[in-house]
């Protein structure tokens, strides 16, 4: 790690979240640093996905939900009235659990985010498509068939396409919500290499079920249970010398 002080990019403070009357998050505080990978681990139903979806206000679209607390992006509260949620989601990109390519061509998938923002210049779109696909380590595999339907790709390729699609709108933070749960081990290995590259340019936050994956790819790890943050710290420490007994039991595989 560099000697320069780390800059906090996104931060949750005292975050509570409710689905109707059910409380899903309780006073969660997590800070995510620039050019670092933050992993969120924990057993099923602990609130990992709920947490990551609050960061780009994706939970806004679920009826009957309510949030309390503060989320800051570069020190600015993302729930301030002058924050445009559409612009927020462009800056904070998201890749979902299940690859969700749109039923369009590979090229149109990548161009989607730019086109809805009014970009029409075909040459520029092609340029961005190539850069994004290279960024997602997919270019070599698809460069000769950009016109084919995205559904013709394999699961792992589809997930990398979704990453490329997210990169195309030039986000600053990228959220991954269990990105490898629907793809095979080889595709997963490729994905983990990709994370290594992505963190040079982006702030990466990844929810994962897979503790080895968290240990391999992340710099910081947050361990959550039953909607609460149990422990947050440097990944090495969380996995080798955790402070909390629960964390130790979880990372050593005694439950979860």
């Amino acid at each position: 790690m560099s000697a320069e002080p780390l800059k906090i990019r996104m931060e949750a403070r005292g975050l509570d979240f409710y689905y109707g009357a059910k409380k899903a998050l309780n006073k969660v505080d997590i800070a995510c640093f620039e050019n670092r990978v933050t992993a969120i681990i924990g057993p099923s139903g602990c609130g990992k996905s709920t947490f990551i979806r609050t960061l780009n206000r994706m939970n806004d679209v679920i009826p009957g939900t309510r949030m309390e607390g503060t989320i800051l992006l570069d020190g600015k509260n993302i729930h301030d009235p002058d924050v445009d949620v559409v612009e927020l989601r462009r800056r904070v990109g998201m890749v979902f659990q299940k690859p969700n390519p749109f039923p369009k061509s590979i090229f149109d998938n990548i161009a989607y985010g730019l086109r809805i923002n009014g970009m029409r210049d075909k040459r520029k779109l092609e340029e961005v498509a190539e850069r994004s696909l290279r960024g997602a380590a997919l270019w070599e595999e698809v460069k000769d068939r950009l016109d084919e339907n995205a559904f013709s790709l394999s699961g792992g390729q589809q997930q990398r396409l979704c990453i490329a699609r997210a990169l195309a709108v030039e986000p600053e933070v990228i959220l991954f919500d269990e990105p490898c749960s629907a793809i095979d081990p080889i595709a997963t290995a490729k994905f983990e290499d990709l994370i290594e590259t992505l963190k040079k340019s982006y702030t990466v936050i990844i929810v994962t079920h897979n503790m080895q994956q968290a240990a391999r790819v992340s710099d910081f790890t947050a361990f959550m249970m039953l909607g609460e943050l149990v422990e947050f710290g440097v990944t090495d420490k969380i996995f080798t010398n955790p402070t909390n007994k629960l964390t130790e039991e979880y990372v050593t595989g005694r439950f979860g």
């Binding site: 994706m58 009826p63 989601r89 969700n100 809805i116």
Partner: protein, 286 residues
């Protein structure tokens, strides 16, 4: 007999029963089509399709009725398609899922089961009397439009429901507004289903007698309608009169069968169109 053999026999009997039911339904339908086809086929000619009735309907053709049905169905479509699709988009994509929206949805479902004569009476009161459109193409088309709306809304909403949530969320996560995500990533895939349901609804409207007989259809007119304010002749109403009210009922029977055949072919054609639209649009997406 051991248990396995018994199970097998029970299954075989079950399948045979189901198959018999299917064949029964098919047989009724085919018999019906054969009856109309054989009795009405003889009178179908270019003259029958292209000319007006003569001598109190005992001679000539049914062109004004075909024309009237076509125009009135157009008016129905102009009302039912945009309104029905918009209502479905609002209900499925925008409206909060509260008790009120559930009640609205239930009412719409119920409206699709209301007998067509009730729509006819309602049309007379609303369009003919209160809004002063008179007995006219416009009144009849609007009445049929109202009757078709619940079908259009329901079919369109079902089509929207089949679009995975991940298309919407994926678009939103890339910085699309809600309307952009619907317009570019939901509607293009829902429209085939929406259109199919709508055309089926229109086909049903084209064959209805009750909603138009008090609101604008006439048994005989010497001229084709020239404006939406004119009365018109329509196939179902023409058939109804020829089959039940005509003074020389036996003499016009073959013509009545011919009219029935044309009406059936028309409705069948519209249904086929719906299927083809869906097939084409689906293939384009692949």
């Amino acid at each position: 007999m051991n248990q396995r053999a018994r199970k097998k026999i029970t299954q075989a009997i079950g399948f045979v029963l189901l198959r018999v039911c299917l064949y029964l339904v098919l047989a009724v339908l085919l018999l019906f089509l054969y009856d109309i086809g054989s009795k009405g086929g003889g009178v179908i000619s270019w003259e029958f399709l292209s000319q007006a009735p003569r001598r109190g309907m005992t001679e000539g053709g049914i062109f004004p009725a075909i024309f009237g049905t076509f125009i009135v169905t157009m008016i129905t479509a102009i009302l039912a398609i945009p309104l029905g699709m918009s209502a479905a988009i609002y209900l499925n994509e925008y409206a909060r899922q509260s008790r009120l929206t559930r009640l609205i949805r239930l009412s719409i479902r119920n409206l699709s089961g209301v007998p067509s004569i009730v729509y006819g009476i309602f049309g007379v009161i609303l369009f003919v009397n209160i809004m002063h459109f008179g007995t006219s193409l416009l009144s009849a088309g609007l009445t049929l439009g109202l009757m078709t709306l619940p079908w259009t809304i329901t079919a369109s909403e079902e089509a929207l429901k089949t679009i995975p949530q991940s298309y919407r969320e994926g678009a939103l996560a890339l910085g699309a507004t809600k309307w952009q995500s619907i317009r570019t990533n939901v509607l293009p895939y829902a429209v085939p289903g929406m259109l199919t349901g709508t055309v089926l609804g229109l086909a049903r409207a084209a064959g209805e007698t009750a909603p138009i007989m008090f609101t604008g259809a006439a048994f005989f007119l010497p001229y084709l309608p020239k404006s939406p304010g004119d009365q018109f002749m329509a196939l179902p109403y023409h058939l109804y009169i020829m089959a039940t009210q005509h003074h020389a009922i036996l003499q016009v029977r073959p013509l009545a069968y011919g009219t029935a055949l044309v009406l059936i072919v028309l409705v069948l054609g519209m249904n086929m169109t719906a299927v083809i639209i869906r097939y084409r649009l689906r293939r384009k997406q692949r």
